[in-house]
Symmetry: C2
Subunit: 849 residues, 2 copies
C-alpha cells in the first residue's frame, strides 16, 4: 500500500486548529475550547466526518501519522464526536497501544496490578468490539496477571492469530470498527429517535490516555457545580481511585465524594490542592464555555488531566435557573438566557402541588412519574377524555397502560394514572413532556374492563366519573379533591419572564372565566383577559332557576323579568373580575350556548322543573323537546340568541356597565370590551350594537356616570372571516375563536372527532390534530383574510386570537407574522406564551427565523 | 288668465308624432302604433307626464287647444297612460263635452234613450269623481229622461251651481281631478305594490268618443284571438249593443258572442263584415305589435272604431305557447321567444295531476288555487315543514291561513292547504308563484290548535304526519297517496326549451338518486346526473340488515363480508341508472351519512337488532350509543367513513365498475364519475384514490374488460374550497355541494335554522334564507376561490355545483360568470334551469346584463 493512498485528513486539537462542530463534531470542538482555556487536556487528534466515512468505506487511515502526533509510544483512546451530544455514538475505546512490550514497561513504572488492568481492559474491549468475539468468553471479574494471560490465549484460540502488537494496526482496526458501527442499522435508528438525520455524520477524537491507574493519587471522576434538579450552586460528582473511563459506574460504591461530606472521605480531604484546581477550572469552563459543564477528569499520580466537558444534564427548573444565573453573572446576555429556555419546558414548573398540610385519603400508590398534582373525574378512554375536555370538565385518564393512540386523550386530561409501566413508560414520558401530573405502575389497581371499573387491592371501587386527585410528585392517588398549593414560581422564573417581556412584541392575554382564573392570569402577568366566557355564570343554582323561567317565558317582558333576577349576580361577577384585573382590559364574550343546555334532560328533572314553573309536565316536556337540536354547534346560539331573544344581551350589557360604574366609584378604572359570538353577517353586529348602545345610554343616565366600552366580534364562522371588511365597520376589535373556526372550516365537530382523529393523524391525513396545532393552511388562511380585510376597512382594528391554540408557539408565530395585537390563552399557558413570543422576536432580530 | 300661462305641451297621436312610453305612457304609445297600422282609431291627444304633473300642481291646461284638435264640438274620453299597464291609474272618464245643447242634438240624431244615457253617464261620473259628491245620490239603475233631470238637480242642489256646460271647463276639471288622484296615497300604495316606483309618472290620453249608442249596429266590445289559459288560437270576447266603456261588465248577460255559437247570437251572425274586419285588424296588430293583443272596439252605427289594444292577459302555459307560435310565424325570433318566458313560470307547467281515472277518497273540498297535485305528510307549522324538507320528506303545509312568515315553510312543502282565504289570499298567490299545488278556503276543516289536529265537518280526524294529497286543480283534498299523471309537457314546451338549449352556454344536469329520478332527468333533457346520492340505497330492508351487520362487525374482513351481500344489489342500482342515462355522464357520490342513521332508535328496535345479530342487547345498545354524535353534520361521515372503514367505498367502487362492465356488454357505454364527499384535506382524496384505483384494477382483471372513470371531489367544507389547488391534483372534477358548504360557512345547521330564519330575514340580518338563495358574498366567494385555485392547479378541471341552489337563476348566473361547466339541480328544476341559463346567455349577447 502506497503512502499516498492513506487518508491523512486529521488535525491535532490546538488552539488554532481548524476544528468545527459541523465537520469534527461537538466533542472535538469542545476539547478545542478547553485547550484554548489552557486546561490540562491530554493531547488530542480530531478526525473529521469525511475521514470517518472514508474509513467505514474501507480506505485506510495514516495511523502512524496519527500516533506520531502523540510523541513516542502513546496509549490512546478513541471517542465519538457527533454533531450533537444527544445523538450518542459508539462507546469509547481506551488504552489503544497496549501490547506485551508496553505492559512490561508499565509493570515497572505503575506496578503489576495497574499494568495488568490496563492491558486486560484493552484486550477485552478489542476482542468484543473489534474482533466481535463472544463477550462471555471475556467476562472477567477481577483483573490479574492470570486473567490477562487467559484473555490473550482465548483471543489467539478464537482468532487463530496472536493479539495484534502493532499500535498503528490496533488503532486502524478500532477506527474501522467504530466507523462501521455508526453506520449500522441499530445505531441509525437510535440516533434518529433522538432527532438526528439518517445520514448524520460522525467525527472521532483520538486522545492520549490519562490512565488513572498507578502510584500516588490516581483515578478518574466527574465534577459539576450545580444541582441538576434545582440548578442551585452545589458541587456534585464522584472520584474513584485506580479507575478510568466508566469504571466509576460499576464501582460507584467505592467512589469518594468531592467536597467534604459526613458520609465518607472526599477528594477535597485527600487532595485539597487538586480539588481547588478542579474548582478553578470548572469556573473557567463556565465562564468561557458559557454554560454549566460537567467535567470528566483523570488524576495520574496527582497530575490532573481534563478528559472532557459536557453540558450538565438538567431538569427544566435547573435549566431556567442556570440561564438566569449565567446572565446575572454577565456571562450571557438576558436575551441569550431567554433563548436558552424552551417555552414548553415552563409548563413543568407551573403545576400545583398537593398541600402537605391537608388530609390525604390515599386510595392507591404508584410511581410519581411526572410532577405536580391534579384533580378530575375518572375517564377510562381517550375518547371520553376528549369529550370531557370538550365539555370543559377536568378529567383524569386512567388506563392499564397508555399507547401512542392515547396522546390526544392525554392532551385532554389534567392527569394520568396507569396500572402498569415505570419511569420510562409511554405514560411517564409523555406525561412529563406535557407537564401533566402522572402516576404509573399503580399495580394495586385491578381493572374490571368489562364493567368499566376498578377495584383496588384494598377493596375500594372506582368508576368513571369519580373524582380523584393524582399527586405525580409523590405517586399517591387521593380520593376526591384536596387542598393544593400553587406552583412554586420562584425568583428565577419571574426574572426570566421579565426579560422575555422586554424582548416580546406581541401581547399575551389570558382566557379567564372566573375570579380564580383571573387571579392566575394576573399572577402570570397576562396583559388582560382576552376571553371571558359568561355562560358558566348561569349554571349556579339560583341563576339556573331564573334562566329556566326566562326560557319558558312567552313574552319579552316576562323574559326581561326573569333575567332581572340574574342581573345583580352577573354585575357582581364583573365587579370581581374588574377588581382583580386592576384596570387591565377585560374582553367579555356575551352569552353563547344553546338554551337547551340549561334544561334538565331526565324525566325527573323535567318533572321538578314543571313543579317549579307551575306548568303541566306535558308542556314543559314539549317545549324542552322543541329546543333540542340536530347539530347544537350549528344551531340557535351565540348572536342568534342575541337577536331572537335580545333581553339576554341587554341584561349582560347592563351588568357590565353597572359593574364599570361601581368599580369606578371605588376608584378603579376599566374600559370593558364586549364581544359578540358566532357572527356570520354584519347586520347581526349592527343590531346588537344598537341595543347595547341604548343600554349604555340608559345606564349612563340612571347612574349619572360616564364610561367607555369597546364592542367587537368573535370571528368563529368562515363567513365572518370572509366578511371581516363589512363586520369591522361596527367592531373595534376582532378576536378569532379558532376552536369553532376550525370546526366549521373542516366541517368537523371537536366532540365527535375523537373517534377517528388518531387514525387520521396516523395515516397522515392531517399532519396533526387541528384542534391541537393550528391548521395554518386552511384555518390560518381565513385568519389572514379576516385580518387583512378587517384592517383595510378599519386601520386601527385590534386583532387577536383566543381559544386553545392561543398559547402554542406555532400559533403565536403565525399571529405575530400576521400583525395581530395579542393572543389569548389559558392562564397556565401565559408564561409559556410570553416566553415563546420573546423567542420569536429575538430570533427575528438575530435573523434566525 | 293669459293664454301664455296655459300649458300647451300635448300632441295629437299621429304616425309621426313624438310619442314615447317613457314620456307619454304605454297607452299613448300603443295607440300611436295602432294609428300607424292604419286602424280606425278615433282621434287622440296625448298629454305627457310633465303636463299631468303640472296640472296636478294647479297650472291650467290649454283645454280649448286640446278640444280644437278634434274639430267642432267633440265628445271625448280621458284615459290613464302610465309607463306600465300593470301600474293601473284612475278610471277612464267618458263623454266629456256633454251638455244641454249637445244632448238636444243627440236626441235628434241618436234618439232620446241614447242621448239620455250618454249625458247621465257623464253627469254621474263627473259628480262623483270630479265634484266628489256622494255616489249614493247618483245611484240610478236605469237611464231615463227623468233620471237625467234628477241627477242634474241633485248636482245643482249639492254644488249650489249648475252642472258645467262649457266642454273646455269640463275637460279641465276632469284632468285636474285625474292628475291629483294619481298622486293620492292609496293610488301610490297600489301601484307600488305592483312594482312601480313611488314617483311613477302618469301620462293621459284624450280621445274622441266612439259612442256605442244610437241607430243601426252600435255598441262596444273586446276581442282576442287566443285562449288565455291554453294559448291556443280561439277567438274569445263579447260584444254588447248600445254600450260603451265598462257597460259590458255590468250587463254581460246581454252580450253577444263574437263567433257563431250555439249558445246564442253572435257579432259574426249579425255583422259578418264588421267581424271580418275586426279579425283582419287583430291579425295586423299581432304581426306589427309582435304579441297577442286584446282589442277594445266600439261600433257606431256600423262604423268600427278601435279604442285600445292591450297584451292579452295570459297563464304561464298560454304565454309559452304564444311566444312559440309568434316565433314559428316568424313574427319574433327564437331568441326573443325564449326571453319572453320567465324561467320561474315553467314550474307551473311541470306539476303532476291527479289521474281522473283513479279512485278518489275526498276528505274535504276547497278552492283549487294553484294547479297540480302533490302528496305528502301533514305538517302544521312552517318550522315543521322546513324540518321535514331537511329530512328529505315531502310534506303538505296545513294552516288556518298563511302569512308572510310562512313563505319559507311553503318553499319547503310540496303542497299547501288552508282553511280560510280565496283565490287572492296569501296562500293562493304565493302557491301559484311557487308553482305549488294549493287549496284554500277549505272551510270544512276545523282546527283544534291545542291538540294540533283537524276534525272535518264529516268527522274525520287528521293529525300531523298523516299522508294526504292536495289536488290544486280541482280543490279536492284526498286521503293518502293517489295515482298521478305526469305533467303535460307539450310540443310548445319542448320547442321553446330546444331553442333555449341553442342559446345556452352552461351545462345543466340533474340530481337523481333513483331510476325514477333519472327518468325524469332524461325526460327533461338533463345533460347527465350531477349528483347521485347512494345512501338511500342502503335503507331497503335486505340491505339494512347487512348494513347493520357491517356496523357491528369487529374486523375489516367481517365488514367486507357483510358488504359483499349488498354488492349485487348496489351493482344493479347502477346498471339501472346507467341504462336510463344512455351514455350521459353519471356522477355518483360515495356513501355519506353517519352510520348511526342506520340503527334503530327505539328500545324495541334495538332488541330486534340484538336478536338479528345474535348479540346481547346490552352490547348492541352500548355500541349504538357509542355511535351517537353531538353534531352529526360535523361528525364521522363522508370521506371520514371512507378512510376509517374503507370497505364501504371498496364495495361501492366495485359495484360501479362491475355495472359499467355489464352495461358495456349489453352495448352501452359509460364513463362513471365517482365523487368523494366531505373532503377537507388532499390526503383524504389520495387515500381513497389509491384504493379505488386498486379496485378498478381488480375488476378489470376479473372481468377481462377495460373501462375508464373519473374521480372527483364534492367541495362541501370551507377548507376544501381553500385547498382546492391541492385537492385538484388528485381530482378530475370539483362539484360544490352548496348545502353543506352554506351550513359550514355560516356555522348554521339547516335542520336547526328554521327556528330563527324567519326572524333573521324579517330583520334583514340575512337578505334571504341562504339555503334558498345562494349567499354570493360568503359562500360564493369560497366557490370562486375553489374554482380559481382548482383550475390553476389543473387547467382542464371540470367545475360544477350540485345541491338545491343549482337550479335557481341567481346561482346559474353566478356559476356561469365563474366559468363553471355545469350546474346540477333537482330533475323538476331542469327545464327552469335550461331556460334561465339561456336567458343569461342571451342577455349577455344582447348586452342586457
Amino acid at each position: 500500500m502506497q503512502k499516498h493512498d492513506l487518508i491523512s485528513d486529521f488535525s491535532e486539537v490546538t488552539p488554532s486548529a481548524k476544528i468545527a462542530t459541523m465537520t469534527h463534531g461537538w466533542r472535538a470542538k469542545c476539547l478545542q475550547r478547553l485547550v484554548r482555556l489552557d486546561l490540562p487536556v491530554p493531547r488530542t487528534v480530531a478526525l473529521p466526518a469525511e475521514t470517518v466515512r472514508a474509513i467505514a468505506a474501507g480506505r485506510p487511515l495514516d495511523c502512524d501519522g496519527v500516533l506520531a502526533c502523540f510523541g513516542k509510544r502513546p496509549l490512546v483512546s478513541v471517542r465519538p464526536s457527533p454533531q450533537d451530544p444527544d445523538w450518542g455514538g459508539p462507546s469509547t475505546v481506551l488504552n489503544i497501544g497496549m501490547n506485551a512490550e508496553r505492559h512490561a514497561e508499565l509493570v515497572k513504572t505503575q506496578g503489576q496490578t495497574a499494568a495488568d488492568a490496563l492491558y486486560l481492559r484493552f484486550v477485552q474491549r478489542y476482542a468484543i468490539s473489534v474482533a466481535r468475539l463472544d463477550p462471555d468468553m471475556f467476562d472477567i471479574a477481577e483483573p490479574s496477571a492470570e486473567a490477562l494471560r487467559n484473555a490473550l490465549r482465548v483471543y489467539r484460540d478464537e482468532m487463530e492469530e496472536d493479539f495484534p502488537e502493532n499500535p498503528a494496526q490496533q488503532l486502524a482496526e478500532v477506527l474501522r470498527s467504530v466507523a462501521r458501527a455508526w453506520e449500522g442499522t441499530s445505531a441509525r435508528l437510535l440516533r434518529q429517535s433522538k432527532g438526528a438525520p439518517a445520514d448524520a455524520p460522525l467525527g472521532l477524537v483520538v486522545q492520549e490516555m490519562a490512565q488513572g491507574f498507578g502510584q500516588g493519587i490516581s483515578g478518574s471522576g466527574t465534577i459539576q457545580f450545580i444541582d441538576p434538579v434545582t440548578g442551585l450552586p452545589q458541587v456534585t460528582g464522584r472520584f474513584l481511585g485506580q479507575s478510568q473511563g466508566s469504571d466509576i459506574k460499576a464501582r460507584g460504591a467505592d467512589a469518594l465524594y468531592l467536597t467534604r461530606d459526613p458520609r465518607g472521605p472526599s477528594l477535597e480531604d485527600i487532595a485539597p490542592e487538586i480539588f481547588a484546581r478542579l474548582a478553578q477550572q470548572g469556573a473557567a469552563c463556565r465562564a468561557k464555555l458559557r454554560d454549566e459543564m460537567q467535567i470528566e477528569f483523570t488524576i495520574d499520580d496527582s497530575k490532573l488531566a481534563v478528559i472532557d466537558a459536557v453540558r450538565v444534564p438538567r431538569s427544566s427548573r435547573a435549566g431556567l435557573r442556570i440561564a438566569v444565573d449565567l446572565a446575572r453573572d454577565e456571562i450571557i446576555t438576558h436575551q441569550e438566557a431567554v433563548l436558552r429556555v424552551e417555552p414548553r419546558a415552563l409548563s413543568e414548573l407551573l403545576h400545583p402541588q398537593v398541600d402537605p398540610r391537608g388530609p390525604r385519603d390515599v386510595i392507591v400508590r404508584g410511581i410519581g412519574a411526572s410532577p405536580g398534582a391534579a384533580t378530575g373525574r375518572i375517564v377510562f378512554t381517550s375518547a371520553a377524555a376528549q369529550a370531557s375536555a370538550a365539555r370543559g370538565e377536568q378529567c383524569i385518564l386512567v388506563r392499564r397502560e397508555t399507547a401512542p393512540e392515547d396522546i390526544r386523550g392525554m392532551h385532554s386530561a389534567v392527569g394520568v394514572l396507569t396500572e402498569r409501566g415505570g419511569m420510562t413508560s409511554h405514560a411517564a414520558v409523555i406525561g412529563r413532556g406535557l407537564g401533566l401530573p402522572c402516576i404509573v405502575g399503580a399495580t394495586d389497581l385491578n381493572f374490571d374492563t368489562k364493567e368499566l371499573r376498578i377495584v383496588t387491592k384494598s377493596g375500594r371501587t372506582l368508576v368513571a366519573g369519580d373524582l380523584i386527585t393524582v399527586d405525580g410528585t409523590t405517586g399517591e392517588v387521593l380520593a376526591g379533591s384536596v387542598e393544593m398549593l400553587p406552583p412554586a414560581l420562584d425568583d428565577a422564573f419571574r426574572t426570566l419572564l421579565s426579560w422575555a417581556d422586554d424582548a416580546r412584541d406581541i401581547g399575551i392575554r389570558a382566557n379567564a372565566d372566573t375570579p380564580s382564573d383571573a387571579q392566575t392570569a394576573r399572577d402570570f402577568n397576562a396583559q388582560g383577559i382576552g376571553l371571558c366566557r359568561t355562560e358558566h355564570m348561569f349554571f349556579e343554582e339560583a341563576r339556573l332557576v331564573a334562566m329556566r323561567e326566562m326560557i319558558f317565558a312567552d313574552t319579552a317582558s316576562d323574559r326581561a323579568a326573569a333575567l332581572a333576577r340574574i342581573l345583580p349576580m352577573q354585575r357582581n361577577d364583573f365587579v370581581q373580575l374588574f377588581e382583580i384585573m386592576q384596570g387591565l382590559p377585560v374582553c367579555i364574550r356575551l352569552f353563547d350556548p344553546p338554551l337547551h343546555e340549561f334544561l334538565p334532560h331526565s324525566r325527573d328533572g323535567l318533572r321538578e322543573l314543571a313543579e317549579a314553573l307551575d306548568r303541566p309536565l306535558s308542556e314543559v316536556t314539549r317545549r324542552a323537546e322543541a329546543l333540542a337540536e340536530f347539530n347544537p354547534m350549528l344551531g340557535m346560539r351565540g348572536v342568534r340568541l342575541g337577536i331572537v331573544l335580545p333581553e339576554i344581551y341587554d341584561m349582560q350589557a347592563q351588568a357590565i356597565f353597572e359593574a364599570v360604574v361601581e368599580v369606578g366609584r371605588r376608584g378603579g378604572s376599566i374600559t370593558p370590551e364586549i364581544m359578540i359570538p358566532l357572527v356570520s353577517a354584519k347586520r347581526e353586529v349592527e343590531l346588537v350594537k344598537n341595543r347595547i348602545d341604548a343600554v349604555a345610554a340608559k345606564v349612563r343616565t340612571a347612574k349619572g356616570s360616564d364610561f367607555d366600552f369597546k364592542l367587537g366580534v368573535m370571528v368563529e364562522t368562515p363567513r365572518a372571516a370572509l366578511r371581516a371588511g363589512d363586520i369591522a365597520q361596527h367592531a373595534a376589535f376582532l378576536s378569532f375563536g379558532t376552536n369553532d373556526l376550525t370546526q366549521m372550516t373542516y366541517g368537523l365537530s371537536r366532540d365527535d372527532a375523537g373517534r377517528f382523529m388518531n387514525i387520521y393523524v396516523q395515516q397522515g391525513v392531517y399532519p396533526e390534530d387541528p384542534f391541537h396545532i393550528l391548521d395554518v393552511d386552511g384555518v390560518g388562511e381565513l385568519l389572514l383574510i379576516g385580518a387583512e380585510r378587517g384592517r383595510q376597512a378599519r386601520p386601527g382594528l385590534t386583532l387577536s386570537i383566543c381559544g386553545e391554540h392561543g398559547g402554542s408557539p406555532e400559533s403565536i408565530a403565525f399571529c405575530r407574522k400576521a400583525g395581530f395585537d395579542y393572543v389569548s390563552c389559558s392562564p397556565y399557558r401565559v408564561p409559556l406564551a410570553r416566553l415563546a413570543a420573546a423567542h420569536l422576536a429575538l430570533m427575528d432580530r438575530f435573523g434566525h427565523n
